[in-house]
């Protein structure tokens, strides 16, 4: 029988050599050093900043949660604040009203997130795409306006207290706890996508018929995707509650949910590292302006604006920029580094190809005109 390679045109093997053991040791070493620097900084910085870093880590988890739904399963969820908020309230409720320990509260919050998102997953079996996004948006409104208003759960306007566990009560310790959980979520996300679950979810996203022909249960994995996303969101909700030590309904609004969607887009859909970086950036940005004194003065005195309000414009603007010009987001921009970590040789361009020259018509004509280059 003629061999396949005689029939097919030759394809250059572009896979390249695998790194040696030494190569892996270097990569793992660099990862450990980087993580170490981050954690050391978190542990030694002033409490104000440690607290902000805790929020950044929590945003990272929220970003990863949305990334599972948006990036991996390809559905748009505009109501994630409902999952995070519900879990936050539940965690606070069980610790304050029912006297449970923080860890039980955390666990229950995670389960609640998984279950409520699983419910949404069931709805997603029948309702797709744009219409599903509408359902999620509406559900988010319902949650905020009815569930979050139930006095027993939320103690009304004053909010429900959410004390921290004694072992992690300080800003520094709690921040480290949040980073630990971020690491855990990253690891789970990595394992999930590397094993049969990841393959199944991506197959279902691309074509349900093809996935089914591989004996993948389409409904099962769709719901599982949502449940994992919900579990991450629930975890984030509990951490959020106990970081703030009081949970108020106002913390969770539909605008938050929309901003979270944007931060995942800026990070790069489906790209774990990019999403974490993007999410942290969104969490820290209002305070980053404060770091650079001249910039802070410029914003507050010359422009007369509050730096926090600036975020509200920069965030969406970045998202639009990403969508129109740099669709891969941050993840795409840092891909030389992430690919090196994954074991490829370091190179600025994937597969030895240079990126396509930016076609002129991709730059909107208006911008070109503004740049003075005429039509």
């Amino acid at each position: 029988m003629t061999s396949a390679t005689e029939v097919l045109s030759p394809v250059e093997a572009r896979t390249g050599p695998r790194p040696s053991t030494r190569g892996w040791i270097v990569r793992i070493g660099v990862m450990i050093v980087l993580a170490g620097i981050v954690l050391w900084r978190v542990a030694t910085i002033e409490p104000f900043w440690a607290d902000r870093f805790a929020l950044a880590a929590i945003y990272g988890i929220i970003g990863l949660s949305l990334n599972v739904v948006l990036g991996y399963t390809g559905q748009v969820s505009l109501g994630h604040h409902a999952f995070v908020g519900l879990s936050a309230f539940l965690s606070a409720f069980f610790v304050t009203e029912k006297g449970q320990s923080f860890w039980i509260g955390l666990l229950l919050a995670t389960l609640a997130g998984a279950l409520s998102a699983g419910l949404l997953g069931l709805v997603a079996l029948r309702i797709r795409g744009l219409y599903l996004s509408l359902i999620t948006l509406t559900y988010g409104f319902v949650a905020v306006n009815s569930i979050f208003d139930i006095p027993a759960l939320t103690r009304g306007g004053a909010g429900m207290p959410a004390p921290r566990p004694s072992e992690f009560a300080t800003e520094h310790k709690f921040a480290l706890l949040c980073f630990l959980f971020l690491g855990l979520v990253l690891w789970i996300d990595w394992r999930m996508m590397k094993t049969k679950v990841g393959r199944a979810v991506l197959a279902v996203k691309q074509s349900e018929a093809v996935a089914a022909s591989y004996a993948v249960s389409v409904t099962g994995y769709k719901v599982l995707g949502f449940m994992v996303s919900g579990a991450f969101a629930g975890l984030a909700g509990s951490l959020f509650a106990h970081r703030a030590t009081t949970v108020v309904s106002a913390d969770f609004s539909f605008r938050e949910a929309l901003i979270w969607v944007l931060m995942v887009v800026v990070g790069g859909l489906g790209n774990r590292t990019g999403v974490v970086i993007g999410s942290m950036f969104f969490a820290l940005f209002p305070f980053l302006v404060g770091l650079v004194n001249p910039l802070e003065h410029f914003v507050i005195d010359t422009m007369g604006k509050d730096p926090e309000e600036l975020t509200l414009v920069i965030g969406p603007a970045l998202a639009l920029l990403t969508i129109i010009l740099y669709p891969g987001g941050i993840g795409e921009q840092i891909s030389p580094i992430t690919r090196w970590f994954r074991g490829e040789k370091f190179s600025l361009h994937p597969d030895g190809h240079k990126p396509k020259a930016k076609k002129p018509h991709r730059v909107p004509a208006l911008l070109r005109r503004l740049a003075g280059r005429g039509k």
């Binding site: 061999s3 999930m192 393959r199 093809v210 996935a211 089914a212 022909s213 591989y214």
Partner: protein, 287 residues
């Protein structure tokens, strides 16, 4: 009892009757052809057999068991494999990952174990990868293992799809136009390959095809579908001689087609008989 029995299959989309009282039998180890003009309902029939569409009437029985109410993934797990007209591969995954997901039905760890990274999942993943590489090796595609699917040539993708179907370890394979995009040489070789695979793996095949020499050379039996109904059925030679079929397809090409078909049969030497020690041949797998 045939491996596949389709009885009285009917489905309509709005006002359009896509299939009407279709009866198909695919006996064990036979290669059965399904031909007909575009729009006759051949792929629709495949989708109904697989469970991707819910027919308005009719049943599907696999090895005597009624599978009409089972979801698609269960039918696949039972042993029915299927290729797609537009290449049924997952483009988001690499070549080797496609080979690994093809083995999904037989993976030895649960979803949760995978998510939390149990030791078992690591070991199983290595096994999946090894088997996947074996199949790729057999097809001569091993050095493409880590490649993404975009940019690979059409012929490679078609070959890969056959590899993934085989990796699902099927008894019955539904092939949707396997020779599409191929020239006469390649279609020849495909025919030989099919006959060989049928022999070594004890496959039963139901094949949608337009390439008439391939059908005549390889199929034991042929159904002709037209406007959703079975126009006629029979051995390839009989069908070839049927006046309505000739009118629709073969016209004056009949003699040339007959010569090409003879060529395929002679060259492969595999003929139409299944392996005599079916079981043992099968266990040896592909290596």
């Amino acid at each position: 009892m045939a491996v596949l029995e389709v009885r009285d299959m009917g489905i309509r989309f709005g006002g359009l009757v896509a299939l009407d009282a279709v009866n198909i039998d695919v006996p064990e180890w036979e290669i059965v052809g399904l031909i007909g003009p575009n729009g006759a309902g051949k792929t629709t029939l495949f989708n109904c057999i697989m469970g991707l569409y819910q027919p308005n009437s009719g049943t599907v029985a696999y090895r005597g068991k009624d599978v009409s109410l089972l979801p698609t993934h269960r039918r696949v797990a039972m042993g029915i494999g299927r290729t797609f007209q537009n290449i049924g591969l997952v483009r988001e995954l690499t070549v080797i990952e496609n080979m690994m997901i093809a083995q999904h039905a037989r993976i030895g760890y649960g979803a949760m174990a995978g998510i939390f990274g149990s030791a078992r999942s690591f070991a199983e993943e290595r096994k999946l990868k090894a088997y996947g590489l074996d199949v790729l090796d057999f097809l001569g595609l091993a050095d493409l293992a880590k490649e993404k699917l975009d940019g690979l040539p059409y012929g490679t993708l078609k070959l890969l799809e056959i590899g993934t179907v085989l990796a699902t370890d099927p008894d019955l394979v539904l092939l949707d136009e396997p020779s599409s995009g191929m020239g006469p040489e390649e279609a020849h070789q495909l025919g030989e390959r099919l006959l060989k695979l049928r022999q070594t793996l004890n496959l039963t095949v139901l094949m949608i095809e337009h390439h008439v020499p391939l059908v005549v050379g390889v199929c034991d039996y042929v159904y002709v579908l037209n406007f959703g109904k079975v126009l006629t059925e029979g051995k390839p030679k009989q069908v070839q001689a049927h006046p309505e079929v000739i009118a629709a397809y073969l016209g004056s090409e009949a003699e040339k087609v007959e010569a090409d078909a003879r060529e395929i049969r002679d060259e492969s030497g595999a003929g139409l008989a299944p392996a005599s020690d079916g079981g043992k041949e099968r266990d040896r797998g592909l290596s």
